[in-house]
Symmetry: C2
Subunit: 170 residues, 2 copies
């Protein structure tokens, strides 16, 4: 910031470019979530249910506290959503074998089906965007998004990736 000389046009272009990023982020996120929201509304669910379903599907057997760490919401908020998902049989809870206080979370078949449906519409959108932009652009896209993350989130995200790789290989 301090090292860029505000020589008229140069600074202007920079701010324009940054604002373009801010705006695209808003519009893209809204449209990106819109389709899934519609499907969820049919089942009387919202985005919060989606997030729980998504990350449980992605990390079968995840504990409540691990899920809380990913979502960064209060346990009361999560509990409300989780209770509903168990009630409607999208999710089951199993007592942890090592630590019996834990509730390990799994999707039911019903849950898996919904997760697939939701992920598919979002993946389709991404597939289209990736195809249009080209694989070169995709790498840039991911790099910028990673750069937008809080350092803590950045660590989490890469940790999640590693955990999954380990699960595949082990």
């Amino acid at each position: 910031m301090a090292d860029i000389k505000p020589i008229g046009k140069a600074l202007f272009l920079r701010e324009e470019e940054l604002r373009r990023g801010i705006e695209l982020m808003f519009f893209a996120y809204r449209d990106f979530t819109g389709e899934a929201d519609s499907i969820l509304a049919e089942q009387n669910m919202g985005r919060a249910h989606h997030r729980a379903i998504y990350f449980i599907g992605r990390n079968p057997g995840i504990t409540v506290s691990e899920l809380l760490a990913i979502l960064k919401i209060t346990k009361q908020s999560l509990s409300r959503v989780l209770s509903a998902l168990v009630e409607t049989e999208y999710v089951v809870q199993k007592t942890g074998p090592d630590d019996r206080r834990q509730r390990l979370l799994y999707l039911t078949d019903r849950g898996i089906a919904l997760e697939s449906r939701l992920t598919e519409v979002q993946a389709r959108r991404f597939a289209k965007a990736y195809r249009d932009a080209g694989m070169n652009a995709v790498e840039g896209f991911q790099r910028v998004l990673e750069g937008l993350l809080d350092p803590e989130t950045q660590r989490q995200v890469s940790a999640l990736g590693h955990a999954r790789k380990a699960r595949q290989n082990g």
Copy 2:
């Protein structure tokens, strides 16, 4: 979709990559909005106020219906936010000179100050992400985000850009 043969690993990698996009989008948007949310909370405002302030600042003299078209929320929702912003003197409304039904929206000095502060924290985050990723990545980032937009939004976004360019030149 149909033209890609699911030869084991290839399909797996593709789905992994798409899921990575989905997840990064969630985390990045959350962290991206987090800082501004904190500032807004100090002033007893929320994200909805921010969006109104942002787009009014970006398009001084915008009408209510134009703003509605950008935000895609109901006029009742916007009206609530707008009333609060006028009440707290972040925004002023002027009767349209051509069509007297219109209320043209402008930021007050107070509003401009808040907008700057909010945009600055977000711009700073983007500046860091852009710097880390490199200017090549930035172009890819923008291209992918554009590809994620609904076609209608895509038209809107480019129309907004054009309108601003015209305002500068004319």
